[in-house]
């Protein structure tokens, strides 16, 4: 950077002005009447190494991007006071911003700056802080860009970790910890989605028979083992797209997406019951259970609703139980009439759940 030299004599004023421009506006140009550069600030000159700016025509050096259609010095002079957008014609074709002030002799002073292109410019031209005027906020801007991107990165990492934690928490919230199946919340969520989509589906409620006996005689560890086996069997006997949930101690719900054919469902239910009746070894003991099932089809309703379907599946399930367990029934309207008034008045599943919660949950 040029130093201000103490200059004496009549030329002092002019020399000082030049030095002041160099220091205050290190990216300025002084143009003569014909549009040639007669003086260039040190930083601007640094941007074109090996190329003398003084003596070149400013419009050959720069393309005027805005205002449009500026091709002569005369036109350029009319831009006094407006914001100029210039771009170097030679590489690197850095964008510059600037403003122009005409001089009495027909020339002009143009002061230029980087604007937002400063981030690339400091890299492209290896600029240092002394290349900027002391009052220029360039250094603060560069500092801020770096500091903020560091802070943003830290925040982004935190967000990613929080997102992972959220997904894990959600999964946990939808999973039955003992069996790895969905829980009641997961079942209600999927059921809601099926109803929303309006596609036909079947809802099967399964209640284990003789499970309480396993728990009572062989202990909770045996009970837990049996529940794990049940989960495995239910998964094996159903399709990938079906949703299996454990919604209570020994109660399960399977949602058969798009499967409403009674024969197929009947076969599936029978396969499940048969598989569950195979004694499950636990240590030296054999655990014997079975299951009662009740199924309801979404197509049976004009406007199927979750609560009502669960209730009806439960009624069908109890019809199976009352008929001697280890069997499957589809819900029929007359079952509702036959069911005890108390069962229908109160949503069956919540009543049942309460009844069992003290024993097995």
């Amino acid at each position: 950077m040029n130093e201000i030299q103490p200059v004496k004599g009549p030329e002092a004023g002019l020399h000082t002005l030049e030095a002041i421009l160099d220091r205050f506006c290190p990216m300025h140009l002084v143009l003569n009447e014909s549009g040639h550069v007669i003086q260039a600030g040190p930083t601007l000159q640094k941007l074109r190494p090996g190329e003398e700016l003084v003596g070149q025509r400013v419009l050959e050096l720069f393309e005027v991007r805005r205002p449009h259609a500026i091709t002569t010095m005369k036109a350029l002079l009319t831009c006094a006071g407006t914001k100029l957008h210039l771009r170097f014609r030679g590489a690197p074709r850095t964008d510059l911003k600037g403003t122009l002030e005409p001089l009495p002799d027909g020339g002009a002073v143009v002061d230029l700056g980087f604007g937002i292109s400063i981030i690339e410019a400091v890299r492209d031209y290896a600029l240092v802080s002394s290349d900027f005027a002391a009052t220029d906020l360039a250094m603060e801007l560069l500092y801020l860009v770096e500091a903020k991107s560091a802070a943003m990165e830290a925040s982004r990492k935190l967000n990613l970790r929080l997102q992972d934690a959220m997904i894990a928490a959600k999964e946990q919230a939808y999973t039955d910890g003992l069996t790895g199946l969905g829980n009641r919340r997961a079942m209600e969520h999927v059921l809601g989605r099926l109803l929303e989509r309006g596609q036909p589906f079947a809802l099967m409620q399964i209640d284990l028979d003789f499970f309480k006996a396993v728990n009572d005689t062989l202990g909770h560890a045996a009970g837990d083992h049996v529940l794990g086996e049940v989960a495995r069997i239910l998964t094996l006997q159903t399709r990938e797209e079906d949703t299996i949930a454990r919604i209570g101690g020994d109660e399960f719900v399977i949602l058969f997406d798009g499967l409403t054919e009674e024969k197929a469902l009947e076969r599936t239910a029978q396969r499940i019951i048969d598989a569950l009746e195979v004694p499950i070894p636990f240590g030296d003991e054999l655990c014997r259970i079975s299951a009662s099932c009740g199924t309801v089809l979404s197509g049976e309703y004009k406007a199927p609703a979750a609560e009502r379907m669960l209730e009806d599946a439960d009624i069908a399930l109890y019809a199976s139980k009352n008929a001697g367990r280890a069997q499957h029934r589809f819900f029929r309207k007359e079952m509702r009439r036959d069911a005890a008034p108390s069962r229908v008045a109160e949503p069956a599943r919540s009543g049942k759940q309460r009844r069992r919660s003290d024993q097995q949950l």
């Binding site: 981030i119 890299r123 560069l142 500091a147 802070a151």
Partner: protein
């Protein structure tokens, strides 16, 4: 205490002494976790506990640990970002010293809830300065001592520093510059390296 400060302590322990030492210190301090989140806030008392645990693990007095953290902040490659941000303070070590007054404001500009202690530089002669650190975080002056020592190296300056851990939240560092261009120092380019 801002998580950035706590996570700096953690990174220092890990980078300088290895993960095993950090895990042991985190356990001794009964943090209940092993990772400080730089963008969350913690009780000041947690910071005290981890500093104490680190001091015990390293068999170093608290101030020595803090000074090492200051040095780490500038000289370790994993904290290159901090070094760069500090180097924005000036072209020379003396310019850097003069920029310290505005360091807390600069920090706040980047992370608005990061409150750093007030710093005040006094110039006694062209080569003699003193830095006053006003803080409730006792020992922050020791951190600054480490920072100044490492920054002098970074600029290639030869300096003599003396720390007085004062009382009532006022700590002082005397700075004597013996030579500004003693060694080559490390480079600094304004354009941040990509990535």
């Amino acid at each position: 205490m801002h998580g950035l400060i706590n996570s700096t302590i953690q990174r220092f322990a890990r980078d300088a002494y290895g993960p095993a030492l950090w895990e042991a210190a985190a356990e001794a301090a009964q943090l209940g976790f092993e990772e400080f989140e730089p963008m969350l806030s913690y009780d000041a008392e947690v910071t005290e506990r981890i500093l104490e645990a680190l001091g015990e693990a390293l068999a170093l007095p608290r101030e020595a640990v803090l000074e090492d953290i200051g040095t780490y902040l500038v000289s370790h490659q994993n904290s290159e970002r901090v070094r760069r941000l500090l180097r924005f303070g000036g072209m020379s070590f003396v310019e850097f010293l003069h920029s310290l007054d505005e360091l807390p404001d600069r920090a706040r500009l980047a992370v608005d809830d990061l409150v750093l202690p007030r710093l005040e530089l006094r110039e006694h002669a062209a080569d003699r300065f003193s830095l006053t650190v006003m803080t409730r975080m006792q020992g922050f002056g020791a951190v600054m001592l480490g920072v100044l020592r490492a920054m002098a190296d970074d600029y290639g300056a030869l300096v003599f520093l003396e720390y007085a851990s004062g009382t009532q939240g006022v700590e002082n560092i005397d700075i004597q510059i013996i030579e500004t261009a003693f060694a080559a120092g490390r480079g600094f380019e304004l354009g941040a390296p990509a990535g």
